[in-house]
Symmetry: C2
Subunit: 221 residues, 2 copies
DNA sequence: CGCCGGATTGATCAGTTTCAAGGCATGTGG
DNA sequence: CCACATGCCTTGAAACTGATCAATCCGGCG
């Protein structure tokens, strides 16, 4: 039995509307989940990085698609049915699975306040802070996703995202390292970014504790 | 021990940031949950009607405020701690509580696609359809919430909501019964509204089954 | 060297917000 | 019982934010 699966940029791990057979964990690389609408509109629901669990949905069908956003992204997976069956007789496992739904809810709620109320400037500031928390190494952030993806996550046109970056660069809050293959940012003054946000902006996908992940992915299925 | 609690329009049931002591069920009337930002901005997260459960949060503090939107709204409640303790040794109760988090997640996800991608016209159409499903009596809808509330739920100015209603009224899809105390709408052609929406728009707060509610609110606490 | 794919920048456009005034049912006081 | 006040909704006009359209740039690669 294979224990990990590998995908290149743009490859689909599962599709919106398909039977929700597996629950996944990112081993390496990065994933986006997205929902397509008419007119080419697309909403990205979240980005997932190493260690993050995704694909657990309160429905028998996936309500998002999942695609790799960097080459050689690898994931583990467990069968949804088997997991839920085990959880029916195992309280601690049941609690672990519930905690993933809770994390998704926390994230979705932060995200919808961003989408409903934040200005373009605030959205981009919140995004950079979030990425700094999750994948930044003391202020150095290498964004794995394209500008289009950032825009679709923030509900903005990619040009608007670019312009906001330019503004932050002008004020010296941000330093850009332009390169097609390494979208690099250096966050000079994180506190200036934080000051631009409305208070109580908890947008982060709080990481799932390793213990939870281990409970769920303990056996290869 | 009192078994229900009553509130008038605008009265707060719990406040954002306060200790999350109780989980509630609407017995009669209607509730909104809202989150205040700076600049007077406000996002309404959901409206709850008779039978709906609200206030279960994945956190020890409430992340929304809850207020009654009609006079003499009554609610039941149970202690969060006691409920969670019981759920730790009761698999079916645990599953019931989890299903509420799942419902909230489904709603939040539909809502954020609306906020991130829908035009003003689509938002208002989706809202009317949702309200028709939840509190409409074959096409007759009496909205309990003010225009401001609708706007803050949809991420629109109240004037925009009013103008969209006017457009729907002009095309004969909607009939308005103007009155300060009875915000009445008659939905003439629901299928025309549905045709205005992007496909796969599942925005409804799916009702919690009576069985789940009964499991949770079986004893007064 | 020249192409390719994304990012940037500029100019214009459109949808929505904001500001402002008026309307219309309901409630209150003379 | 009428006149006026109240609170919300509606309507109009102007302003603005962000989107769209379009051109150019820039690094990496064939």
């Amino acid at each position: 039995m294979k224990s990990t699966y590998s995908y290149n940029t743009g490859e689909e791990i599962y599709g919106q509307g398909k039977a929700a057979t597996y629950i996944y964990q990112v081993v390496n690389g990065a994933i986006r989940i997205s929902s397509k609408l008419t007119n080419g509109r697309r909403q990205i629901g979240a980005f997932y990085f190493s260690g993050d669990i995704f694909g657990l949905e309160p429905s028998i069908r996936y309500r998002w698609s999942a695609e790799a956003i960097v080459d050689a992204t690898t994931v583990r997976r467990v069968k949804r049915k088997a997991l839920l069956r085990k959880a029916q007789s195992n309280l601690s496992l049941s609690r672990s699975v519930w905690s993933i739904t809770e994390r998704d809810l926390l994230h979705a709620e932060g995200h919808r306040i961003l989408l409903g109320q934040f200005t373009a400037t605030e959205r981009v500031a919140a995004f950079i802070l979030q990425m700094n928390n999750r994948i930044g190494v003391n202020g150095e952030i290498v964004l794995p996703m394209s500008g289009t993806d950032v825009g679709d996550y923030l509900g903005l046109a990619l040009e608007t995202v670019s312009r906001e970056h330019a503004k932050l660069s002008d004020t010296g809050i941000l330093l850009r390292t332009p390169s097609r293959w390494r979208r690099g940012l250096t966050l000079r003054r994180p506190e200036s970014l934080r000051a631009m946000l409305p208070p109580l902006s908890a947008l982060d996908l709080s990481p799932i504790s390793g213990k939870v992940a281990q409970t769920i992915f303990s056996s290869k299925t």
